[in-house]
Symmetry: C2
């Protein structure tokens, strides 16, 4: 396998270990593969079944009457070595091992089993995802080789999830699905043998549909490899990473994916040096990824805040200070124009509260305000408050118009909310036109701070 394409765009897949019982893990990969609409060959294997989900079940890998690209393996750990040998004989070049019970079990027998299967895989040049993975999924190939039911609801997009943990993978997937964020690829690594973060980052760096790479990392055997791979990718594509921290968690992480947590400071410094955007929690991971998927990074950190109600603007300004962003100082001409438009010269400052304009013919005014702010030299990015209120609609409409007219020339992020989905359509129109909308001002600003950090990397390296 020259590259990993065969794993993520297979033509034919054998599923080793399939079960008819929803109480068993082995029920799910074959179900998801079929439900996901995978159009390549699907070959379930189980000597005790004849059919499953309308497909013929084969008694062994050998019995499959066609070439097979990859195998999805979900049998008991002790059976994996012999399964893998059969895969080798069949000429299978990639395997996703969902079974657990290897090095992460903490038992000598598990570690031995893992050594055994890895020796087989290396000898036969089989690329292995796992063991102890929840699988991989590629929406662009309708390919759901995961234990995760959520994946079926993921829509195509440009954010890739690379997660050492299957459970975290599910949380990220659910959050992204519920926020209507499109996915380009899902990869759960598990114990990582001959396919590791570095390989996947390199692969995703060239993957056309992926625009943003998100990583959930517990620990790495060879952080240097990831750092080197990242350096090659970040000039083109951002990488956002959440790394587990706290050496007291070494035991837990080891028992999970056979990895050590290590010292976070060391990681953090290395990430920063490589241009990886390290984040503090999963909310930030998703929010920053969304901003990066939607907007181009700004060239600086000077922010203009625009709102129809002062308070949310002030909260956004507080957050700017907290996350290292600067409130842009408007030019005297800009201030003059803004004050004239809105009708209260005293307000023509940043954060810019347009409350006073609400009595006028507002959509046009707001649109002109947006244009003025975009032309301000001292402004790198604009944060817009879009809280729902019938009288606030003109502000939101003006932003929608700007976005639909493809007249956005600076980085823009928005925050807005409505009760019970009243403004969902407005928000969707903004997001369909690449303006990310967050439910609260602080989150919009924190996401923008991620964009600014990536801007530094991007414009330094290009």
């Amino acid at each position: 396998m020259d590259n990993l394409d065969t794993l993520f765009y297979p033509q034919s897949v054998a599923v080793i270990g399939v079960s008819e019982s929803p109480q068993k893990w082995a029920y799910y990969p074959i179900k998801h593969l079929v439900d996901g609409g995978f159009s390549g060959g699907i070959y379930p294997v189980n000597p005790r079944l004849s059919h499953i989900f309308g497909l013929k079940v084969y008694p062994s890998i050998e019995a499959i009457p066609a070439e097979v690209d990859i195998a999805i393996i979900v049998v008991s750990a002790h059976l994996v070595p012999s399964v893998l040998k059969e895969c080798a004989q069949k000429g299978i070049r990639g395997a996703v091992i969902l079974s657990g019970g290897f090095e992460e079990s903490g038992m000598e027998s598990g570690a031995k089993l893992q050594e055994e299967i890895m020796a087989i895989a290396d000898r036969a040049k089989i690329k292995i995802i796992g063991p102890n993975s929840v699988g991989i999924g590629n929406p662009y190939a309708n390919f759901n080789a995961t234990l995760e039911s959520s994946f079926i609801d993921a829509c195509r997009g440009n954010i890739a999830i690379v997660s050492q943990s299957g459970g975290v993978c599910a949380f990220l997937l659910n959050s992204m699905i519920n926020q209507n964020l499109g996915i380009s690829m899902v990869m759960s690594l598990g114990n990582r043998w001959n396919v590791d973060f570095a390989d996947l980052v390199e692969y995703l760096g060239k993957h056309q549909q992926t625009k943003v790479i998100t990583l959930y990392i517990e620990g790495l055997d060879n952080p240097h490899k990831l750092i080197e791979a990242a350096k090659g990718v970040v000039p083109q594509k951002p990488i956002v990473a959440y790394k587990v921290r706290g050496e007291s968690l070494n035991r837990a992480a080891y028992a999970h994916t056979a990895s050590l947590v290590g010292r976070y400071e060391v990681y953090n410094a290395a990430f920063s040096q490589a241009g990886i955007i390290a984040v503090d929690d999963l909310t930030e991971l998703i929010d920053v990824a969304k901003a990066l998927a939607f907007q181009s990074p700004p060239r600086g950190n000077r922010v203009a805040i625009l709102s129809g109600q002062a308070g949310p603007g002030i909260v956004a300004a507080t957050a700017c200070q907290h996350y290292g962003l600067t409130l842009a100082e408007f030019s005297p001409q800009g201030k003059k124009k803004l004050g004239k438009l809105v009708g209260t010269p005293f307000f023509s400052e940043n954060p810019f509260d347009m409350g006073a304009a609400f009595v006028k013919d507002t959509t046009q005014i707001f649109q002109q305000v947006l244009e003025i702010l975009q032309r301000e030299e001292e402004v790198d990015a604009i944060v817009v408050s879009c809280v729902y209120h019938p009288l606030n609609t003109p502000l939101i409409e003006s932003l929608i118009n700007l976005a639909e007219d493809k007249a956005v020339t600076k980085t823009i992020v928005a925050f807005g909310s409505s009760p019970k989905g009243i403004a969902d359509q407005q928000i969707a129109r903004l997001e369909n036109n690449h303006i990310p909308v967050y439910p609260l001002p602080d989150r919009a600003v924190k996401a923008l701070a991620g964009l600014v950090r990536y801007g530094k990397v991007r414009y330094l390296t290009s």
Copy 2:
């Protein structure tokens, strides 16, 4: 007015300034009062209208043929003094002034107007909310005297919102509504004259339906008064506060609600001394309020983490360390029992991953695990991962059973998510039984940290 009850539980309300045009602010208070189902007397006033929303409109306050408790005023700023004089003559004891254009306008004329109305109010002993407020709302009285359409969707509950800003009020309301969090009272302060944070905190301290008080503060003229009021309330009820920070925002905050931001360090120290839980952002404000509304605070900071997938447990553990919580050390007997139940002694540590138990008759096992953890002396609080997966259902069900059986004896918070609302019912069953569920592990832990902080206050003072 001995207390503020007349303002928040009025028997009759005059709405001064009503408009039939949805393009005018004056359209909304009367509409919301009627739509909200207020059962007291409603007396709209406008000399140019005869009827609105099926109600008779009076040409003046004087013309109202009944006693009036309070007035909601939404006329141009320059008309407010004469309106207030009429209110005084009518014997009205409270007014909610929604009109803006006073001290916050930054213009001398506005400041003068404010002085004028306040002199009238003080002389006539009229309690004033505002000016420049978006109003007040009391779901228990079906009383929506706000400009906020969102308020109509708020359900009755026990979280009070006291916000200096109307816009932030809307963001908090929307978030709480969308998270099914019940509200006990909404108060938008605006410029604050003779009703300030301290008065409202004191009032809410005695308000039966309010269990948690949330504050959004830009600046205070007399922080000492709030601090003293808070000290009297926090032994019974938690107060959670978000305070704008950054002296560079003085101008913006002044232009908004005529207040100065001040030095955050000073506020923070005073808040901490008073037992007010200061938070860093609006997400935390809502998340902590939710935890406090649902759960009793723990007596200590030692946390047990329980999950069916190790990764989310490890993220929660990382967050515990970040937010000053300790991972509880299980007792040797506890570990032994846990290991035996789950079948892998190596896993019987904290965070406790029950992945290995998924092949067994799991609901019973999980319930026993929860009982063991609740009995552990070294455990003050339990964090449970409830990510949706068909095979994870037994874990969630065991927690639901525990909660429905009223067998929760320690503080419990949960995190869980599902795509497209699949697990909404499970989450609702947990929350109906007072287990708060957050979409991501970090948020659950940060909310728990708020509970722990309140526990310190509560158990120190009682």
